[in-house]
Symmetry: C2
């Protein structure tokens, strides 16, 4: 899509080699932006950027955003997507997670403030913890254990939200926050511990599927293309400074239903291996997305079965 | 109290020139410790340390703990008490508050870890937010708005707790967390916006007492000597690594009852000036202190009226 005579705008995306970050790099380049992607490759992988490496509108900087950022050029937009995000990743890197969500957020906010750029923080449904309200609207304060093992991510992101709002309130920064619910699609790491890549890779290889708890806990899964569309709108629409917006799919499925869908698409009946439920695992979580519908005209478009089919295709090719 | 033949142990106390920090410096020096007090004097005041400046067991370092700490000596104990702590202070310094509670906590944890020193984090009843459970035990997860104006302190401290526990879990650091409920006594700043110094200074000067809301919201107030005793025990008792302990007084009084006590001790009937309630102001908060009773053998000893009398005497002399 051409921007006509308008000069290319520049966006800095942290976590560029991650699952969501890499899809955002693709999308912004496709929309005519100049993209600077930053990643320390702690949990991101270079292969996620193979398709735009060499594109003259894309530049990759390998760096930890918890270290001072030496980015000298003009910026219109900063998207802070760097952070381990799956429980397996953040429990393996607890201190690095707390560091990127605090010091990394400070550094990227300072950069955006210095360039008078707009700022978008990638937050998460994990800020709602194990919610006592269903579905969760943005006004719900959450139910999070501040000292449990998962607090490294949940409290890290709650801190990042508080900090982002402080820059918005006290420095006048045009900052926005997206709370991202479970998302899936191509480029998830097979080993990140999340259920969809795990179920797909197990089903493809014919090994037993691990099920935590009784498998009746529900989740809502949003296909990555839908999520990227919502983020693009939240990042580029005018008049949303200080807004917090949930993005996710409202369709709830239990883990057992998810397994059935994956199995029927692959055409194999899987063996199940039941495991204990991890500490503070939320039993249920579903977004209230009325704010996104109203402010962004956004609703998810890709049905679960269709998204799973595309994801299985990608894993079958990538594997 | 003499330590006999034992060599003096060394404690580093951040926030040393603050209300609680300065009383802790006094207490540890009195118990035979060598004390290094650190403060950037953002909200602390040098006068709070006048009584031990010059003592050969006390050393003051003026520095922001969010900047790297150049402390080379052996340390047995680190007490992290630096942070703006009254709503007026942290709303005036929102970004500095988030910085000391995150980067300052990182720096002091790294220092304790490098010296194999024990670590004690000063946390707060504000991590419980506007609680939906009364009284609040340490197992209560809290009810905090992550993006409201007060989140700079509430989420800053929740982050500091999560970080402290991460160092305890992943590095084996002997770390402990104290959640401090409302405390009062000599050396509170008259202008810090908290109710007891405000009521006392207004009553002493004969100006109207500001009451937020209808004055029926309750608080529990602990006299500083009681609190310092509890902190000293939590910092020095063996076998409490990874513990989170509430310290505070369980006696609930409404703001109107508090005003009556102050007025009767001073001997003047005050004028009241009613003001609107600030955003997210907790309507009620009271500690469950059974864990402190069990683990530390601690209960508050000073009745409110006696503590108020000593505090009024100090304000009358200091003013």
């Amino acid at each position: 899509m051409s921007l006509g005579r308008q000069p290319a705008r520049t966006v800095l995306i942290t976590g560029a080699a991650g699952f969501l970050g890499s899809h955002l790099c693709d999308r912004f380049v496709a929309q005519g932006w100049h993209v600077i992607g930053v990643d320390n490759l702690l949990t991101g992988i270079p292969r996620n950027l193979a398709q735009i490496n060499g594109n003259r509108h894309f530049q990759f900087v390998q760096q930890d955003v918890a270290k001072p950022l030496a980015i000298d050029c003009h910026l219109d937009l900063v998207l802070h997507f760097a952070s381990p995000a799956s429980p397996r990743d953040y429990l393996r890197h607890p201190i690095a997670t707390l560091e990127v969500d605090s010091v990394g957020t400070f550094n990227t906010l300072e950069l955006a403030d210095a360039r008078r750029a707009r700022y978008l923080l990638a937050s998460t449904s994990e800020v709602y913890g194990d919610p006592q309200v269903h579905p969760q609207p943005e006004t719900y304060w959450g139910h999070v254990n501040p000292t449990g093992p998962r607090s490294v991510y949940d409290e890290g992101k709650r801190f990042a939200e508080a900090l982002t709002m402080a820059y918005h309130r006290s420095r006048g920064l045009d900052a926005r926050i997206v709370r991202i619910f479970n998302t899936y699609g191509p480029r998830m790491r097979a080993d990140d511990g999340r259920v969809i890549p795990q179920f797909i890779t197990c089903a493809l290889s014919g090994t037993p599927l691990p099920v935590q708890g009784d498998g009746r806990q529900t989740r809502s899964f949003c296909f990555v293309d839908d999520l990227v569309e919502g983020i693009y709108r939240l990042a580029t629409y005018e008049g949303l400074a200080g807004e917090v917006v949930n993005l996710g799919n409202t369709e709830e499925v239990s883990l057992l239903e998810l397994i059935e869908s994956v199995a029927s698409l692959i055409g194999r009946t899987p063996q199940l291996a039941y495991l204990p439920l991890p500490q503070d695992d939320p039993s249920r979580r579903r977004p209230d997305i009325r704010r996104a519908e109203l402010a962004l005209g956004w609703t998810p478009q890709v049905p679960l079965r269709e998204g799973l089919r595309r994801t299985i295709d990608w894993f079958a090719r990538a594997g």
